[in-house]
Assembly symmetry: D3
Homo-oligomer: 306 residues x 6
C-alpha cells in the first residue's frame, strides 16, 4: 500500500556498472561447475508451480479452493477446464525437470517430451485416488483437533492440511520420475507452513499434523495409517554413512519407520532407521534413537527442576 | 522474473480429461459429509481477508502501514476512506463466516446479514481501544530487545509485532461471534511469522514475542500483562479428555495460565491447565507440566554432557 | 482464484466512521513517542526491498534467478540493466533508512543523499566478492546433504540457501551503515524460510543450514568456515546485562563463537559468549552454555525412557 | 514502462481539502436530478462488460480469441467454463441495467433478478445463431477486401469485424430488454474502432465495414444482407421531430433503410427515413436525403476543380 | 486471454546486439536537438496522467466514476482521500511539465516546485466550478439526443461527455500554466473518443458533441453556450501565416468563433477566424470559410445526382 | 475503480450450458473453412505485439518511451536488454505469422523457425536506419504544426507520430516477409489513433499527419518526402478489378502516388492510381480521381450556400 509519489533523490548517480558486470562475468566463468549448469537454459519455474498447485487444489476441492457459485450445470466444465490448463503447465515443468534426473545421453528433446507426457498423464490418472486419501486426512484433522469445528474450517485454515495436500501431490510426482519438481513443491509448502516433508517419504492415510511449524520428515521415512504429529517433530537421520572417499552415500534407508496409530507430541526428535511400534505414543521433546515395541508410551526423563 | 518466452513443447497432448473429471465427480458424491458442505457456496476468502488485515493495519498505524505523504490536511480522509472500504469487505466475510457458527435454523439471509452488520459495527468501535493495547505491545518490544533501535523498526521488521497485531484483531472478531474468520486470520499470521496463536486465547497488554518461529499458544491459554516469550515456546494441552464415545470434548480449559511479568525462554514447553506465578522465569527448553508459584526461576536439569 | 461475482449483502451499512476516525486521531496524538515518529514521512518500503532482493539475486545468478534464454550476446545487457535498476531502488531505500541510524543533526537532505550514494556504490562494488562466497555456500549445501542431486536443485529449492543469500547481502548493508534496512532484509528471509539470522552476525564461507525452520543466530555471533547447522538451532544470548537504571545495555558481545568445521544438529541451544572449538559436533537438542575445546563431541544426556 | 524511482518533490503540500470536499458536496446536493440518481447505487461496470465481451468472443471463436493448445479433449471444457463464468458476470450487469429501463414500481429485487436471469438465459440460447451470422460476416470481409489473405487475419486485425461482433451481441441484449447495457457495449466498440453502431439498428447477414473510422449507424436504421460500407459513412437522421413543448420525440423511425447488396463508399452521408434500393451503389462523399430505386449508381456531383 | 504455455522456438538466437546498440547510440548522438532533450530526464508520464484523470472523474462524480456503496457516512472520506492522492500525483506531473514551458533560467528545482504547488492548488480550487459547468453539459447531452434515456446513461456511455470532461480539466490546466500537460490530456481523450479538442480553445456551458469521431477543434476556437456538434466537424485554420523566414507564426487567432445556440451537423468544415452568428445552423458536410450572420441556416449545395 | 464489494444476486442460476456448448461445437464443425483454420493452433498474439511495440519504441527513443534516470553509465544496458527481450518476443510472433504467408508445403517447424530468425535479425539490423527516418518525421511534425512547442511534446502527445512509428516498423516487417504481423501492428495503431495506414504503402521521410482521425492510406500508395496530411484524408482505390469469375484481383497498383512536398487538407478523398505532382496542395474535402501536375492547387468547388 505504498503510494507511487514518494519523494526521492534529486540525482541519478552512476554505479560503475561496466566494472561490476565484468567482474560478475569473470566470477561466473571461473567456476566450471556453475558454468556447465548455465547451459541448461530452462529451469523449472517456482511461480508456475505455484499456479499448478493452486489449479490442482481447485480441481480436487472445487468448492473450497476453486470458485464460488458452481452449479450442477457448470462444475464439471470448471473442473475439466482447470485440469486441462493445469496439466499443460505441469507437463512443461516436468519436461524441464527431466534434464536433471535423466541421464545426459537421453537428453533428446523428442524423447524427454514423450517421457514428460507419459509422467503427466499417469499423474493425472492418479488424482481421483489422491483425492480419496486426502479426504481421510481431512477427517483425521477434524477428529484429532478439539478446536476444529467443521471440515471446511480445516480445509481453509489448517497448515497441516496444506502441507499434506502438497506432500501427496509431490510424492506422486516423485514416484513417477520427476524428483526435482517434487522437491520444489515440498519447498513451496515448507515456506508457507514451516512443515518440511521430503517427497520421497511414504505416508499412510488419515495423517494429521497439528500446528506443524518445524516438523521435518526425512527422505526414507515410512509412516503408517492414522498417525498424528505435533509441531517441531523431527523424523531424521542419525548419521550419514560416507564411502571410503568421504563422500556421503546417497539413498540409504536412514530415517524412522512409524507404524499405524502412533502419536508423536511436539518437539520429539526421532533419529535413524528405527521402528516406532504400532499404537505407541512419543511424548513432547523426547529424544529417541532406538526402536520401541508396539503400544509403548515414551516420555521424557523428568527434566524440569526449579 | 521469468520471461514469457520459454521454449515449450511442440505438442498438445490429450489427458483423458473426461475420465478424470468423471471420477472426481464420483469421488465428491461418495463422501456425504463433504458433499453436504458443497452446498455452502460462499466461503470466507483468504485473499480478501489479507486485504482486510492490510486495511486495518493502515487504519491503525497510517504512517507506517498506510501511505507516505500524509498531511494534517489529508490523514483523516485517508483513515476514514480506508476504514470504510475495509469494513465493507469485512462485513461480507463475517456474513459468510456466520453460516459456520450459527445454528442452521437461523440461516435466513436477512437475519445473518443483520448479525454481520452488528458484529462489524462493534468491531469497528473497538479499534481505538485495540490500538491503545498495541501501542503497549510496541513499547514492550522496543524495551525488551537489546537489538531494537526505534519503534518504527519494530513496526517494520518484527514478526512478533505482526503476530500480535493479527492476534488482537482476530481475538476481537472471535469474541464478537465469528470464530471461523478469527481462525483464518490466525493462520495468515502463522504462515508469515511461524507464530501460532489461537484467537480465543486471552493475552494482556505489553506482550512481546522475540524471534517467534515455532511459538504455539493454545485455545484456552490466559496470559497476563508484560509477559515475554521467545521462539519455539509451546503453551499447550497435556491431554485431550474424551467423552465415553471416545470423542474429544471440545472447549474445556486445558492450556496454561501465565501471570503478569513472566518471561519464558526459547523452546520451553508448558502443558496443561497449570499456573506460572507472576514474575517467574522459565528457562530455555524447559518441560513443565506442573504449576509454579510466583517469582520462581525454572531451569532445565543439567543436560549437556560431552 | 475467487471469482468476482460473489453474492454479497443487499445493504450499505454506515459504520459511524466520523467517531472512530476521531478517536483514532486522538489515540495517535496522545502518545508522544509515536507522534514524533509520524514526522518521518518516508519509511523504507518492504515491497520495494523484496524487488531489490529479487534483482540482486538475478544479478548474481542470472540463469537461475533471472531469465531464461540468456545468450552470450545478451547476458551482460541483462545483468547490467538489472543491476542499474536495482541499485537505483536500493539507493532510495538506503537514503530513507539513514534517518534512523544517523544523528538527527545530520538530517540534511543533501548530506544523507550523498551518504546513501556512497553506501550503495560500495555495496555494488562488493557484489562480485559476495558472489564468490555464495558459490562456496552452494558447494557446501550440495556436499552436505545426501538428498541434493545438483547445484541447480540447491539454488531452486533450499530454504537454507535463500536465507544465506539474504544474510550475506544484509550483512554487507549492515556493515556499510544502514542497519535498519539490513534488519528488514533479515525479516523478509525469516518470513519465507523460518530462519532468523541477525545481519550483524559474522559467518564464514561454505556455510550450510539444512531444513532450517526455527534457526536463530544472534547479533554478536561469530561463525567460522565450513560450519553446518540443522533446523531449530539457537545461537543465542544467555542473559541481557542491564545498566544501573535497568535499561538493557545494547551491543555487548553476548552470543557464541563457533569455530571452523563445526556441525550443530537439530534443536541444539547454545547460549552466551562461549566458544565451540573447531571441528566439534553438537548433538541434537543439546543445551550448551559453556565453551568446549576443539574436536569435542557434545551429546545430550541419555534422556529418553519408556 | 516508467520506473518506480522518479525523483519527486521534497514537500508534501496541503490542498485545502476540507473546503473543496465541502463545495463538491454542495454541488452534488444542489442538483436534484443528479442527486436522485445517486440513490441508484449499482451502475453497470464498463470494466466488467469488457471482460464479458472478451469471454463471449472466446466462447464463439475459441481458437482465435480463446486459448492456444485447445484439443478435442479439452475444447468443450474451455467453452463451457468460459461461458458459465461470462454469463454469471453478464447476469449481474443485466440486473443492474434493468433499474434504468424498467418502471420504478417494479424495482423489487426479486423481480428484477428473475427478469435478469430470463434475459441472460435467452441471450445464451441465441449464441449459436449469432455465431452463424458472424461467420457470414467473416466471409463477406474476406471476399470484400482485396488485401485480406485469410479468415484468421480478418478475425485478428479487422476493426470492422470487431465492431460487428460487438454490434450483434449488443443488438441481442437490446432486443431482450437491457438497452442501457447494449449502449455501453456499443460505446466500447466505438472507442476501439471508431465505428458507432446503435444497438437498436437492424443489420442483415454478410455485413462488412472496411477501415471504418467515423462510421455512424443510427438507432432506427435497417440494413439488408450483403451490404458493404467504407469509412466515415453516416446513416443518420435528417431532423428531430419535437412535440408541442419542444421536447424531442423519442423512438420515431428517422434513419435510412438500406436494402440488400448495397455498397456505400467512404464519406457518404445518408440522412432520413429514405430507402436505398437493392443493388445500388452510393459513391464516396455523396450527400443523400432522398430515396433511390434499386440498382441506382449515386455519385457526387463533379466537385473538384483546380 | 492468451495462455502462458504457448509452444515456442527451441533455440535462443543471438541478434548482434552490440552492433545495433552501438549504432543506436551514434544515432542519438548525431542529432543535437534530440540529445539536448535527453538531459531533461523526467518527462510527464502518460500512465500517471490517466490515473489522475480517473481520480478527478471519481472526485467530481463519485457515484458514477468512483465506487459503489458510498453512503452519507463515507462519501466525503472517499472524495477527500481520492482528491488528495490525485492532487499529489498531478502536482508531480505539473512540476515535470514546467521544464517545457518555463524559461530555462528559472529551472531551479525549488522555484519550479513552488510554482507547481501553486498551479495545482489553484486547479483544485476550481474543481467545484468545473463540476457545475459539466452538469450543464450533461443536461445538454440528455436533452439533445433523442436516444438518451437518463443522465446516468450519458455519463456511462457517451464519448462526447468523456471528451468534454477531459477538455474542461485540460483547459484549466492550460490556463494555469502547464500547456504540455494539457496537450497530453487532450491526446488521451482523442485516443479513446476520436474527438480532438485543443485545450486552449474556449467553450461555453451546455456543450454537446454527438457521436464525435473525427471532430477537431483548433487552438484559438471560441465557442459560446448551448452549442451542439456532430461527428467529423472541423473548426480549423484556413492558412498558417509565416514570418519572413518562412517559419510559422505561433499563437495567432486563426480558428472560428461559434456564438451561442449554434448547431453544426456531421462533416461540416469551418475554417479561419470567421464568426458563426448566434442561433445559426450549419448543415452536414458544409464547407464554410466566411462568417455568417445570426440565425443563418447554412446548407450544402445540392450535390447528389444519379 | 470499481470496488470488489458490489451487491450481487442471491442465486446461482443454471444456463443450460451443455446444450449451448453442443450447438457451438456443431456450428464450428459445419463450416469447413473455419474448422480448417482451427488446426493452426498458434496465432500471433495482439497482447504480445503491443509489448513488442512498446519495447521497440523504448529502444529507439529510450529517454522518452523508456525509463527515467538513464545515465551514460546505464543507457546502453537498458537499450541492449530491452532490445534482446523484445526481439525474442518478436521472433516467436514472426514464426507464428509465417504459417499464414508461407506455402503449406514449407510448414516444417525447423524451416519456419530458421526463416523467422532470419527475418527478425534483418529487422533488428534496420532499426538504426528506421530511427533516422523517424527523426526526420519528428522534425516535420515540430515544424509543421504551429501549436507544437518542443520535440518532446511531439513524441509524447501527437497521434500522427505514434501512427508513423508503428507504420515504419510494420512496413519493415511487411517487406521482410511477415505481412500478417504487419497488418496486426497497423490495426493496433489504427485503434489508438484513428489513422489506418496499410503496412505495404511506401512513405518517404519527413512525413507528418496532423490530428489524423479517419486518415486511410491504401496498400499500394506511394508517398514522397516532406508530405503533410490532415485528418480524414483518404488515399484509396477507385475500383476493384475482378477476374472473370468475379473474384477480386489482389495486389494490383490501385492507390495514388503522392510526390514530394505535397500538402493534403482535411477530408480530401483521392482515389485510384493517379499522381499528385510534387509541390501540389489539395484542399479540404476535395474529391479527386484524376492526376494533377506539379505545383497545382486543388480546391473544392464553391459548395456552401445559405
Amino acid at each position: 500500500m505504498n503510494s507511487p509519489y514518494h519523494a526521492s533523490p534529486d540525482v541519478s548517480p552512476e554505479w560503475n556498472l561496466a566494472d561490476i558486470v565484468d567482474q560478475l562475468r569473470q566470477s561466473r566463468e571461473i567456476e566450471h561447475k556453475i558454468r556447465y549448469l548455465d547451459r541448461v537454459r530452462e529451469l523449472p519455474s517456482r511461480e508456475t508451480l505455484v499456479t499448478v498447485l493452486d489449479g490442482l487444489a481447485a480441481t480436487l476441492f472445487p468448492t473450497h479452493y476453486g470458485r464460488c457459485r458452481l452449479t450442477n450445470d457448470s462444475i464439471d466444465y470448471f473442473v475439466g477446464n482447470t485440469l486441462n490448463a493445469t496439466l499443460n503447465l505441469l507437463f512443461e515443468q516436468v519436461r524441464r525437470a527431466l534434464y536433471f534426473s535423466e541421464a545426459p545421453e537421453t537428453h533428446d528433446k523428442q524423447n524427454l517430451q514423450a517421457k514428460a507426457i507419459e509422467i503427466t498423464r499417469r499423474f493425472a490418472a492418479r488424482l481421483p485416488a489422491i483425492r480419496s486419501v486426502l479426504v481421510s486426512d481431512l477427517h483425521a484433522a477434524y477428529q484429532g483437533d478439539p478446536a476444529a469445528t467443521s471440515i471446511s474450517e480445516v480445509l481453509l485454515s489448517y497448515p497441516g492440511i496444506k502441507a499434506v495436500i502438497h506432500y501427496r501431490l509431490a510424492h506422486a510426482i516423485h514416484q513417477l520420475g520427476a524428483p526435482v519438481l517434487a522437491r520444489l513443491i515440498s519447498d513451496i509448502a515448507h515456506s508457507s507452513t514451516g512443515i518440511d516433508i521430503h517427497p520421497a517419504a511414504r505416508i499412510g492415510a488419515s495423517f494429521f499434523i497439528d500446528h506443524g511449524t518445524g516438523v521435518v520428515i526425512g527422505e526414507t521415512t515410512i509412516i503408517g495409517e492414522r498417525v498424528r504429529l505435533y509441531q517441531a517433530v523431527t523424523l531424521g537421520a542419525k548419521s550419514f554413512p560416507a564411502d571410503p572417499d568421504g563422500k556421503l552415500t546417497k539413498g540409504i534407508a536412514r530415517h524412522p519407520i512409524v507404524e499405524d496409530d502412533v502419536v508423536i507430541y511436539a518437539g520429539a526428535t526421532i533419529l535413524g532407521r528405527i521402528t516406532i511400534g504400532r499404537g505407541s505414543t512419543v511424548g513432547g521433546n523426547v529424544w529417541l534413537t532406538q526402536s520401541v515395541p508396539p503400544d509403548t508410551n515414551v516420555t521424557q526423563a523428568k527434566t524440569q527442576e526449579d
